[in-house]
Structure formats: structure tokens, C-alpha cells
């Protein structure tokens, strides 16, 4: 039984769904971040798998770009998270609803 590219795709889809479920269901901001990372990396997996299947370098390039963006996003996000935690002593996102219309 050979491992075809479809396996990678299915695996990535499972990872992505887990991440998405985490973002939607967990209330802790830190865990939500980790879930987002999971989603991003599952997408990276699809990029790399598709790139190697088609013999294109662009798949790996895109993955690198995603990593850079993810790093930047985490930097800003964690800074906000720390600031919020200092002020509120909680990381529960549902308490942060001051912008309710």
C-alpha cells in the first residue's frame, strides 16, 4: 500500500478541521492561537504535498510565506494576549465583548 498524495490531503483536512473546531469551541485565547497554528500548518502540508506531486517549487515557497506570516501573527497576537491577561487576569475571549453593537 503506497502513500499517495491523497493521503496527505486527507490528513491535512483532518488537521484543519481539528484546528477550526478548536477556534470555534475553545474559550481560552492561547488555545485558540494554537488551533490557528494547526490550521495554518495543515495548509502548509497541502502546499508542500501538492508541490512535490506536481514537481513545482512554488508549493514550498508558499509554505515558507505562510510560516513568516504565522510568525508575525503570533508575535502580535501573543503581545495582545499578554496585555489583556495583565489587565483582566483571564484569557477567556467571551468576556472581551465590549464592542457589542
Amino acid at each position: 500500500m503506497t502513500v499517495t498524495v491523497a493521503w496527505y490531503m486527507v490528513f491535512a483536512a483532518v488537521l484543519f478541521s481539528m484546528g477550526a473546531a478548536g477556534v470555534l469551541l475553545r474559550r481560552n485565547a492561547l488555545v485558540m492561537f494554537m488551533s490557528i497554528e494547526l490550521m495554518l500548518n495543515s495548509v502548509n502540508l497541502t502546499f508542500v504535498a501538492a508541490g512535490s506531486e506536481m514537481g513545482l517549487i512554488e508549493g514550498q515557497v508558499a509554505a515558507l510565506f505562510v510560516m513568516v506570516v504565522a510568525a508575525a501573527e503570533v508575535t502580535v497576537g501573543l503581545a495582545i494576549l499578554v496585555a489583556v491577561f495583565r489587565r483582566r487576569s483571564t484569557a477567556n475571549v467571551d468576556t472581551l465583548s465590549e464592542l457589542k453593537g
Partner: protein, 623 residues
């Protein structure tokens, strides 16, 4: 030299800009002298430029710059004998009036501003006169209306002056409407507003119906500016302005615009006999009507105002019977003697500490020698006594009416009757003002005016006496001078020989009768009481103002009130407020989506992305 033609317009406008912007710093006498110089210099330039026409030089066009080339309206000036003559009248009489104002306006709070407006007036009128296309002429036409508004309501703190300014402006706007629509028709017919093309091709291109429509609309414009029935009502009220303004409006600028425009468009009017008959009839009717109103006025300036309307009636009648030269000739002589009469009246009013009621004057000839003698010239000139200016120009018009014959004999008769009435009311004015017992209070100390005011009077008196000799049946100098401007136009001329002498004698007799009746009535001690009946009606101008007020102003006001109080408040405001509250309620419906919970937004994003993915799959034929 002709290259400096643009200076004629530029200098007065420069003066206007300078005096309106920096007048306060220039100060009282200086700004008056500056303004006078900026009208006098164009007069000198114009005089030099006119000299070649004495040797029958060709008319010239000076192109300045492109303005609206598509409609043939460029900043381009026409210098021909007609515009030269008009320029000389405007700047010549205008500079005398400026000089007079230096003394008359002494001590006025807004002295520099006054001269700024006066220069604006002269510049506007020169634009109108020198334009070589209807577009630029219309610019001058409108600017003249604006400056008259500014000057009539110069003492705007007086409610009557503010109202008079508005009245002049609005009534003129009605005329402007006709003029503007006329221009549109000209453009529709010729594809250009250029004088050369329009007048050159009119004969072949224009049907009688189109010519009639165009000329009638142009004539509506002329009735506004030149104060003819039915739009003459603004002119008597224009007396609210300072007296030099009245002189400027009545003599040099503004009211002559309509007559000039018709004379300039002679090639168009010639093609529309119906319009010409209407023009002549309106002119004659205005002449008679205004003269009968003038009889009953008690205010010295209002007598002169109605006499202006009456004299303008003569001019319009002249151009209506295609005696264009006669009309322009009378325009010129009238400019001299009417400026003289107004400035003289201003001198009297000045001396009497702003008293304008002639019944409170009397016996002034002993106190104001110069004013009296010069005004006497004006009086005899406007009455038409041989050999003063009015005699020649008025008789040329009457002679032309007689020569045209038929229906126009009625107009000749109207003109003769008007001449009699004119002699009567002018004599009445002179006797009430200068002769008889003094009827003023002891504390009014009448005195002669300063030299800046009497010098213009003397110059104008000389012109009123002598200008008629420019165009006598013996020597038609003006006629020859203007020939290039009326080339190819069939003009009516007064008859020659015995008929001419008979007509002249008839009008002289009529004038003498008019003066004699007035002397009989006012010149022998006790004055008649002029109250009630006809006198009250004439004093009121036959109630024309009240009539217009009831028929036009009141309905207009009612519509405006309805628009303001109902239409604007409910419909216009309703639409705006309705739009606002619709947006507001839509927003308050949508605000529930803004929960403030990050995870609900995330759910939205996920749902949206899923939707997009499903849509893409469906498009791709996955199911």
C-alpha cells in the same frame, strides 16, 4: 494705435477693482480723482481712435483672446463709427459725471466704494458697446444691470433705496430673459453669435417668421434696459440712488443700451416689419404715457426720470421706423441735456440740503446763478427750441415718422403731442424751482455748488446748445459719419424742402404753446393747487406699480410662500429626513449581528469560507 483699444475697457475695470479692494487706503478726494482719470483717459484714447473715421476709414475688429469660440463669442472688440460714437458719449459724459461726483459725494462714508462702482458701470457699458458678438455684449449687458443695482441701492440702509435696487435688478432680469432667448434663437439660426456673420448672412438665411421671433425677443431685452412699456417701472424708483448715478443711468449708460442694441442689430430688425411696427408703437406710447405722468410729479428728480422714459420712447420710435441714425442722434443729444438736467437738479438738491420737492423750492435763480443758467439750456434743449440740440434730433425723428406715412402718421401726431407736453412739464419744473417766491424754510441756506460740480454743468450746457448742429438738414455730418455702420440698411429720412420747414415750424409752434401754457399756469404769482383727480393719479404713475404688485408680485409671493412653507418643509425636507431615518432603522436592524464575541465572528468566517468552497465545487461540477 488701434491695438490699445482694449485699454478703453481695462482702465475703468482696473479702477473698479482698485477702489473696491483698496479704496479705504486711497481716501476721499484721491479715489474720486483716480476714478475720473480712469474714465477721462479712455475718452482721450477713443477720441484719437475716432479721428480716422472722419476720413471714412474702414471699421476694425480687435481680437483679444478666445473665450467661447464654439458659439462665435470671443473677447473681440468692434471699432466702427457707431461704437466709436457710443464710446465717446459714455466716456465723455461719464467723466463729466465723475468729476461732478467728486464734489457731490463729498463727506459720504463710502466715498471710494462709490467711485469703484461708477468705474465698474462705465467699464460694463463699454464692454456692451464695443463687443463684436452677442455673447460679449450679453456680458456687458448683465454687468450693466449689476452695477446699476449696486449704485441705485448705494444708500442701502434706506429701505426704499434697497427696494429700488432690487426692483431695477428684477425688472431688468425679465428683459434679460428675452434677450437671452433671442440670442439662443440667433445661435440656432446662424450657428454663431458673431456680428459679422449674423448681420452679413441675415438677409439670405432668415425667414420672416424667425426674424420676427428673434427681434421681438431682443426687443423684450431692450424694453427692460431702455425702460419702455411695460418694463419702464424701475426707472423712476432708480432715483433713490445718489443723483450722479441717476445722471449716469439716464444719460450715458444703461438706458441707451437697448436703443444701441436695436441700432446695432438693424440688419435683423429690417427683416421683420411686424417687429418694427411694434417697436415704433411701443416707443410712441411710452413717450406719451411717461410725459403725461411727468406732468404730475412733485419731486424734481422724478419729473426728470419720467422725462427720460419719454425721451427714450422717441429713440425707440426712431429705430422702429428704421431711422436708426435719428435714434442714435437723439440718444447723443439726450445724453448731453439729460446729464445736464440731472446734474443741475443734483446741484439744487445739494444746495437745498437734500430737499427734492419742487413745491418747497422756488426763487432759486438768485442764489444759484450757474446752475440756473446751465439748466435753462437743458430745459430749452429738451423742449426742442431752435437752435438747441433737442430741436434737431427730435425733429429728425418726427420728420422720419412723417415721411414713412400711413400708420406712422399717428405716431408722428403722438410725437408732436408729446413734444407739447414735454415743453409744458419742463417749464413747470423750471418755474417751480427757480422762479417765483421762495417757498423754503429760512434755515435752508441755498448756495452755489463748488467748481467740480459747476464745470461739468457748463460743459454740458455748451454741448446741449451746440450738439444739434452735428446733424442738421443742411449738413448731415453725423449721418455721413455713421454710414459705414449702417451700410446696406434702408433708413427712412425726413422729407425735404417745404414739408420739412412746415414740420419744423409745427413742432416749434407746439413747443412755444407748451411753454406758454406752463407760464400762464405757474409763472404768475399764485400757484395752482394740484391735488386729487388727475394730479393724484399722475403722481402715482397711474397706479401701474400697484397694478403690477397685484397681478404679478402678489401671485409670485404666494407661490414662493407656498414653496417655502409647504413644499420645502414637507416634500424636500421630507425626502431628506425620510432617507435619513430609513438608513437609521436599517442600521438598528443589523446591529444585532455585532455581538462582540470573537468566536461568533470566527464562526461567520468559517461558514462563509465553507460556502465559497461549496459554491466553487458546485461550479466545477462536483455535484
Amino acid at each position: 494705435m488701434i491695438d490699445y483699444l482694449w485699454l478703453l475697457i481695462a482702465l475703468p475695470f482696473l479702477g473698479a477693482a482698485t477702489l473696491i479692494l483698496f479704496g479705504k487706503r486711497i481716501g476721499e478726494p484721491a479715489s474720486g480723482w483716480l476714478a475720473s482719470a480712469l474714465v477721462a483717459i479712455p475718452f482721450v484714447i477713443a477720441a484719437i481712435l475716432t479721428v480716422p473715421f472722419l476720413d471714412a476709414a474702414e471699421p476694425e475688429t480687435v481680437f483679444l483672446f478666445e473665450w467661447i469660440p464654439m458659439v462665435g463669442a470671443n473677447a473681440s472688440l468692434l471699432w466702427d463709427p457707431l461704437s466709436a460714437l457710443m464710446t465717446l458719449i459714455v466716456t465723455g459724459v461719464g467723466s463729466l459725471i465723475h468729476l461732478y461726483s467728486v464734489g457731490y459725494m463729498h463727506g459720504d462714508e463710502r466715498y471710494p466704494r462709490f467711485f469703484g462702482y461708477m468705474n465698474l458701470f462705465i467699464g460694463s457699458m463699454l464692454t456692451l458697446v464695443l463687443a463684436d458678438n452677442f455673447g460679449l455684449m450679453f456680458v456687458g449687458w448683465e454687468l450693466v444691470g449689476l452695477s446699476s443695482y449696486l449704485l441705485i441701492s448705494f444708500w442701502f440702509t434706506k429701505p426704499s433705496a434697497a427696494a429700488a435696487g432690487k426692483k431695477a435688478f428684477i425688472v431688468n432680469r425679465i428683459g434679460d430673459w428675452g434677450f437671452l432667448v433671442g440670442l439662443m434663437l440667433i445661435f440656432a439660426a446662424f450657428g454663431t453669435l458673431d456680428f459679422g456673420v449674423v448681420f452679413g448672412e441675415a438677409h439670405g438665411l432668415l425667414s420672416v417668421g424667425m426674424a420676427t421671433a428673434i427681434t421681438l425677443l431682443l426687443f423684450v431685452g431692450a424694453t427692460g434696459k431702455s425702460a419702455q412699456i411695460p418694463l419702464y417701472i424701475w426707472l423712476p424708483d432708480a432715483m433713490e440712488g445718489p443723483t450722479p448715478v441717476s445722471a449716469l443711468i439716464h444719460a450715458a449708460t444703461m438706458v441707451t443700451a437697448g436703443v444701441y442694441m436695436i441700432a446695432r442689430s438693424a440688419a435683423l430688425f429690417e427683416l421683420a416689419p411686424v417687429t418694427l411696427a411694434i417697436v415704433a408703437s411701443v416707443g410712441a406710447a411710452t413717450a406719451l404715457l411717461a410725459a403725461t405722468i411727468a406732468i404730475g410729479q412733485r419731486d424734481i428728480k422724478r419729473v426728470l426720470a419720467y422725462s427720460t422714459i419719454s425721451q427714450l420712447g422717441y429713440m425707440v420710435m426712431a429705430v422702429g421706423i428704421t431711422a436708426f441714425t435719428a435714434g442714435i442722434f437723439h440718444l447723443m443729444t439726450h445724453a448731453f441735456f439729460k446729464a445736464l438736467l440731472f446734474l443741475g437738479a443734483g446741484s439744487v438738491i445739494h444746495a437745498m440740503s437734500n430737499e427734492q420737492d419742487m413745491w418747497k423750492m422756488g426763487g432759486l435763480r438768485k442764489y444759484m446763478r450757474v446752475t440756473f443758467v446751465t439748466m435753462a439750456f437743458g430745459w430749452l434743449a429738451i423742449s426742442g427750441l431752435f437752435p438747441l440740440a433737442g430741436f434737431w434730433s427730435k425733429d429728425e425723428i418726427l420728420g422720419a415718422a412723417f415721411a414713412k406715412g400711413g400708420f406712422f402718421l399717428i405716431l408722428w401726431l403722438v410725437g408732436i403731442v408729446t413734444a407739447l407736453i414735454t415743453a409744458f412739464y419742463m417749464t413747470r419744473l423750471m418755474i417751480l424751482t427757480f422762479f417765483g417766491e421762495k417757498r423754503w424754510d429760512e434755515d435752508a441756506h441755498p448756495h452755489e455748488s463748488p467748481w467740480t460740480m459747476t464745470v461739468p454743468l457748463i460743459v454740458l450746457a455748451a454741448l446741449s446748445a451746440g450738439a444739434g448742429l452735428l446733424n442738421t438738414p443742411v449738413r448731415l455730418a453725423l449721418e455721413h459719419f455713421l454710414e459705414p455702420s449702417f451700410e446696406g440698411i434702408h433708413q427712412v429720412h425726413p422729407p425735404g424742402g417745404f414739408t420739412l420747414w412746415g414740420l419744423a415750424l409745427a413742432s416749434l409752434v407746439v413747443v412755444v404753446i407748451g411753454i406758454a401754457i406752463a407760464y400762464h399756469r405757474y409763472g404768475r404769482g399764485t400757484l395752482p393747487t394740484e391735488e386729487g383727480g388727475y394730479w393724484a393719479a399722475a403722481l402715482d404713475g397711474y397706479g401701474v406699480d400697484a397694478f403690477y404688485g397685484a397681478v404679478i408680485v402678489a401671485p409670485g409671493r404666494a407661490i414662493a410662500t407656498w414653496l417655502a412653507m409647504f413644499f420645502d418643509l414637507t416634500v424636500v425636507d421630507g425626502a431628506v429626513n425620510g432617507l435619513g431615518s430609513a438608513v437609521r432603522s436599517f442600521g438598528s436592524t443589523l446591529r444585532v449581528l455585532q455581538t462582540g464575541w470573537v468566536r461568533s465572528y470566527a464562526a461567520g468566517i468559517v461558514a462563509g469560507s465553507l460556502g465559497v468552497v461549496l459554491w466553487l465545487l458546485w461550479q466545477g461540477g462536483a455535484f
